[in-house]
């Protein structure tokens, strides 16, 4: 069995314009080049806006560029609805455990 190097990051309660910059800085710190995937735990995130989605898209793009993947883990139904509304469910890999 091959173990995949994975970064586990828990997203904040609000992923929005006011927290986007801090969140982006944190992702840069915690996701290392050796990580083949990044799992962002959204279970505690009650609110995401378009700026928050933008941060996730930037992360997704940078990971894909180096062959790694992004997984959004356990998003709330409200967050899922937003992702579906903006048709990003075609972009993000969403997993529920």
């Amino acid at each position: 069995m091959t173990l995949t190097a994975s970064a586990q990051i828990t997203a904040p309660a609000e992923l929005c314009a006011t927290t986007a910059r801090l969140w982006r800085d944190r992702l840069e710190r915690e996701i290392k080049p050796e990580h083949e995937e990044a799992c962002v735990d959204l279970s505690k995130t009650r609110f995401i806006d378009s700026s928050g989605l933008g941060v996730l898209l930037t992360l997704n793009k940078s990971l894909r560029a180096r062959g790694a993947t992004l997984k959004l883990v356990n998003p709330s139904s409200a967050v899922c609805q937003l992702i579906e509304l903006t048709r990003l469910h075609r972009v993000f890999e969403i997993v529920h455990y």
């Binding site: 314009a17 006011t18 609110f47 806006d49 378009s50 898209l57 990003l88 075609r90």
Partner: protein, 590 residues
């Protein structure tokens, strides 16, 4: 960030144009929606929409606009939620077609799509440094009727009790009014009752008077306050005036700025209460003011109900009593005028005297029930004639009583008839004291004609001039003496005129030809013209009398005035008496 202002179903908030403050503002709105029973999923949608909208309102801020605040306001109606966000940035162009980015992985360009997707109606008004985004969505669930059964029952019970109490008091008031009490006493008693029932400190009741622009006071409690007796609705900028003029309740409290002339200032500086207009049959019946000696009066629904209901009923009742008193007064007045008219009629001669040389006919005005005009014609023992026309100032019983006194004195001093000036002096001396005390006066004209009909002596006391005509010319003899009752020792003078050249003599009161010309009454010129033509046409006094009456009648009819002319025509001729002289005295009212 300023504190949110919440009034009725609206929310308003100014916030600095930063992302953090915008986020806080959105949280406040969403919390306000939640507080107003908006469902959680709706609140979540609005939070997302408003976050996108508020971000747009601040991200276009330039450094020189940093001090400007944005503004968010929300309103709830039964069916809709509406939010407006106003900013003072240069704004942006709203896309004609709102779509997601072509590139699914684009990091930008979803905010407006989210806004339009989650709201029913969006409009963006972009102006010069002033942009407004209006968002509206239908409420997903209608507002739930918040029914607190216990509280509702409590309110209903209080209302029923209040109605019962008011009704019971109205029955007592009806019974009280049925005892034929005087309105002021009734008002005083019930204002005291109302003071207790309403938990008030003072009440003042003003009732409409005959003069619509004034509201005289009918009662006030406590009696220690000396209220202004009259409220002038034309000039006073007062709380009670506003209630009377607008016909709407006027509340006042410690924050009310009372005008200097406001009568309520008499109750003190720190007062509060209500000025309630009273109506009866659509008319303003009065104003009831209820208040307390403290800056804020918070009456319970029961107290307010009692004040309004009982106050309205008391007002209507007093208004009815006032109307009844007015009707009684009018009946008394009518009866008094009938008495005066009877007195006046009793003083008139049944027929005016006629001699072979002198004919006479007269017309007596009767304005309304009775006037102050008087006339007489007396055949003297020596065959001479005394003719009298007088006008007692005023109407009604006082004027009729003075006419009676004048008549009695005249007939008891006929020994002076050949010297009208002496007779006039005697009349003035006898009546001066009474006339002066009553502040009245009498104008009169006495004309004596010798038995052969050739000499005429006339004396006037403030009366209209005597007119004579031969059919070609007019002679006007002005009276010089003052009216009776003006000067105690007034002197009078006789004017002697030879009647041989004149065929017509006219005595009259002001009602026939006043100094006013063109007002419907005959002008001086019109009267002169008529007299000249009448003197040329006939020697028949009754015919001339009828002719002048028709002329005057047409003038007063044209001007819609009353017939208030009294006049006497004396003709001198050689013809025998006509049949008309049997009807020598006519009356305006038949």
């Amino acid at each position: 960030m300023s504190l949110p202002q919440q009034q009725f179903d609206g929310f308003r908030l100014d916030f600095p144009a930063t992302l953090e403050d915008a986020r806080d503002a959105v949280r406040s709105v969403v919390q306000w929606l939640a507080d107003h029973q908006i469902r959680e999923d709706e609140c979540q949608q609005w939070e997302l929409v408003l976050a996108e909208a508020a971000n747009n309102a601040v991200i276009y801020t330039t450094p020189d606009q940093a001090q400007l605040t944005a503004h968010i306001e929300a309103a709830l109606s039964e069916h809709d939620i509406e939010v407006r966000i106003t900013d003072h940035t240069s704004g942006f162009d709203w896309p004609e077609k709102v779509e997601l980015p072509e590139d699914d992985e684009s990091e930008h360009g979803r905010g407006i799509f989210i806004i339009t997707s989650l709201t029913d109606q969006v409009s963006y008004l972009r102006g010069q440094g002033h942009n407004v985004l209006c968002l509206r969505s239908q409420r997903k669930s209608p507002p739930e009727a918040r029914e607190d059964t216990e509280a509702t029952l409590e309110l209903m019970t209080a209302e029923v009790a209040s109605c019962y109490e008011t009704l019971a008091n109205i029955f007592r008031l009806i019974a009280d009014a049925g005892n034929d009490v005087e309105p002021v006493a009734l008002a005083s008693r019930w204002l005291e009752e109302l003071r207790v029932l309403a938990g008030a400190d003072f009440l003042v009741l003003r009732m409409a008077a005959t003069e619509a622009s004034r509201l005289p006071i009918l009662g006030g409690v406590p009696s220690t306050i000396v209220w202004d007796p009259l409220l002038d609705l034309r000039t006073a900028d007062a709380v009670e005036t506003r209630a009377a003029v607008t016909r709407q309740d006027q509340w006042f409290d410690g924050g009310t700025s009372f005008a200097a002339a406001d009568p309520l200032r008499k109750a003190g500086e720190h007062i509060s209460g209500l000025a309630h207009p009273l109506e009866s049959g659509g008319d303003l019946a009065g104003v009831l003011t209820v208040g307390v000696f403290k800056p804020l009066w918070e009456p319970s629904a029961r107290e307010l109900n009692v004040v309004r209901s009982l106050g309205d009923f008391l007002g209507a009742l007093l208004h009815g009593l006032h109307r009844r008193d007015e009707a009684n007064q009018a009946r008394l007045m009518k009866r008094e005028l009938q008495i005066a008219a009877d007195i006046q009629r009793s003083l008139l001669p049944a027929e005016l005297p006629q001699t072979p040389f002198v004919h006479c006919a007269a017309h007596l005005a009767t304005v309304g029930e009775v006037g102050g005009d008087y006339l007489d014609g007396i055949l003297l023992p020596d065959g001479g004639l005394l003719f009298v026309v007088a006008d007692v100032m005023g109407k009604g019983v006082p004027a009729a009583l003075f006419a009676t006194a004048f008549h009695s004195l005249l007939h008891s001093n006929l020994d002076l008839a050949a010297r009208p000036s002496r007779l006039m002096q005697r009349l003035n001396q006898a009546m001066f004291a009474e006339l002066d005390r009553a502040d009245m006066f009498i104008t009169a004209q006495l004309v004596h004609i010798s038995a052969d009909g050739l000499a005429l002596n006339v004396c006037g006391a403030g009366h209209a001039p005597l007119l004579l005509s031969d059919g070609r010319q007019i002679q006007e003899v002005c009276a010089d003496g003052p009216p009776l009752g003006v000067t105690a020792d007034a002197g009078y003078q006789d004017y002697t005129i030879s009647l041989s050249t004149y065929t017509h003599v006219l005595l009259h009161t002001d009602g026939l030809s006043d100094v006013v010309s063109g007002g419907g009454i005959l002008s001086r010129d019109e009267l002169h013209t008529w007299l000249r033509e009448a003197a040329a046409a006939t020697e028949d006094a009754s015919a001339s009398r009828d002719s002048l009456h028709r002329l005057h009648r047409s003038a007063v009819d044209a001007a819609s005035q009353q017939d208030d002319a009294t006049f006497m025509i004396i003709t001198r001729g050689t013809q025998t008496l006509s049949a008309n002289t049997q009807n020598s005295l006519s009356h305006a009212n038949g």
